[in-house]
């Protein structure tokens, strides 16, 4: 029983990830919101970056995890790996939505617009739509094994497409971009580096923790459903 051993392993080690993530994020929030000084250009608004950048990084990390797990699933066909894919996709959607939302809130005072067709924003919006499609496909495919295979294929295709999408959107923007909107990256002062690092590492570890919890949750849900299903069919025969 590979799955049982795997789930047992997750259950044993998850708390350490959760613990480390909580400490790092608490330290990151403390330095980011309390002790660090405001940015010279952006003022206090730079503090949004301490939550926005980790969210965006984690969204990409989780999509990469989804890609790796999808290949792993097509290779080994373990249903617990499919649970991990499903969990990674849900978390990726969550972090992508969070990244878009915080980016939009940051954009309003900085660019004076909630939304601009910046290459990064556009690519992320497309990633968001792809993930919504992925999760919808999962709910519509009733056969569990077929659903897992098809979703793994979709995730792999989407992952290969993502750099091309980003590249094409960047070219397209370089043609049409009005010069008034600056997409200048922020120059990171050492004072700001501390909360960035703490939050970045903290949220990544938190993602690992969430992935472990969510994989367990989906696995146990399917286990329970299978048991209850067997129960119902037994009840009918009696």
């Amino acid at each position: 029983m590979v799955a049982t051993r795997f789930i047992g392993w997750l259950r044993r080690f998850e708390k350490w990830f959760g613990f480390v993530a909580a400490i790092l994020i608490a330290a990151g929030l403390y330095t980011g919101l309390v002790t660090s000084s405001p940015d010279y250009y952006q003022g206090e608004v730079v503090r949004i970056m301490y939550v926005h950048v980790p969210f965006v990084q984690t969204a990409m990390l989780s999509y990469f995890t989804l890609f790796i797990c999808s290949i792993w699933y097509l290779w080994k066909r373990e249903s617990v790996v499919d649970n991990a894919c499903h969990a990674a996709a849900g978390l990726s959607l969550f972090f992508t939505a969070g990244g878009l939302l915080t980016g939009s809130i940051w954009g309003k005072p900085t660019w004076n617009a909630w939304w601009v067709w910046d290459p990064r924003l556009t690519s992320f919006a497309i990633l968001f739509l792809t993930l919504v499609g992925y999760l919808m496909l999962r709910t519509f495919l009733e056969d569990k094994e077929k659903g897992a295979t098809f979703c793994a294929i979709l995730a792999i295709i989407g992952f290969i497409d993502l750099p091309i999408i980003h590249f094409s959107v960047e070219w397209w923007r370089s043609l049409h971009q009005p010069s008034s909107i600056s997409t200048r990256g922020i120059s990171i002062a050492p004072d700001m580096m501390v909360p960035f690092t703490l939050m970045g590492v903290g949220v990544s570890i938190l993602f690992a923790y969430m992935l472990m919890v969510r994989t367990q949750m989906l696995y146990l849900q399917h286990l329970l459903e299978a048991k209850q299903g067997r129960l119902l069919s037994e009840g009918q025969f009696e």
Partner: protein, 170 residues
């Protein structure tokens, strides 16, 4: 079926209470830092309270009130908001930031005897609402998501171990 309350679920609530306390402390520290360093007062509050510590005053420069600034003379103008006006003397050299009808923040002290706010520095207009909403809209869903997942996992373990699952419903 009411969710069974096992020891795992109780441990979950305990863990989360500790977390909530820790994050509330950080939130409190952030709010007090905001009070200390970022919060501005309006001319109306300045005139009615006449505080004697360093304050940040926010208001709009009245049209036509901006004078001085040449030959080392300090700028003189009046800031207004909510119908109250406060005269300001600004000794810095920041010509670009000063313009009629612009909303600015000046840092300085209220000289009650002269009836003038002596400012030495101009700050960026605060937009803490954006920062607060960014943190609220990202961290609260995050916390709710993690909590609901952990709770579900704890309950599922209890439910699966529970013998009742194996019994046929009558």
């Amino acid at each position: 079926m009411a969710p069974p309350e096992g020891g795992a679920v109780k441990g979950l609530y305990l863990r989360w209470s500790i977390l909530i306390v820790v994050f509330s402390v950080i939130g409190f520290l952030a709010i007090s830092r905001y009070d200390r360093e970022v919060r501005t007062i309006s001319p109306k509050v300045l005139l009615s309270e006449s505080p004697n510590t360093e304050k940040r005053l926010m208001g709009m420069i009245d049209a036509g009130s901006l004078k001085g600034g040449s030959d080392g003379m300090p700028f003189r103008f009046s800031l207004s908001s909510e119908g109250a006006k406060a005269p300001v003397v600004f000794s810095g050299d920041d010509r670009e930031s000063l313009r009629d009808l612009k909303t600015i923040v000046v840092i300085g002290r209220w000289q009650a005897d002269k009836g003038v706010f002596e400012a030495g520095e101009i700050a960026l207009t605060p937009n803490y609402g954006f920062i607060t909403s960014a943190y609220v809209f990202s961290l609260i869903p995050l916390i709710l998501l993690i909590f609901s997942m952990e709770r579900r996992v704890a309950l599922l373990y209890v439910m699966i171990k529970d013998e009742k699952v194996y019994q046929a419903e009558v």
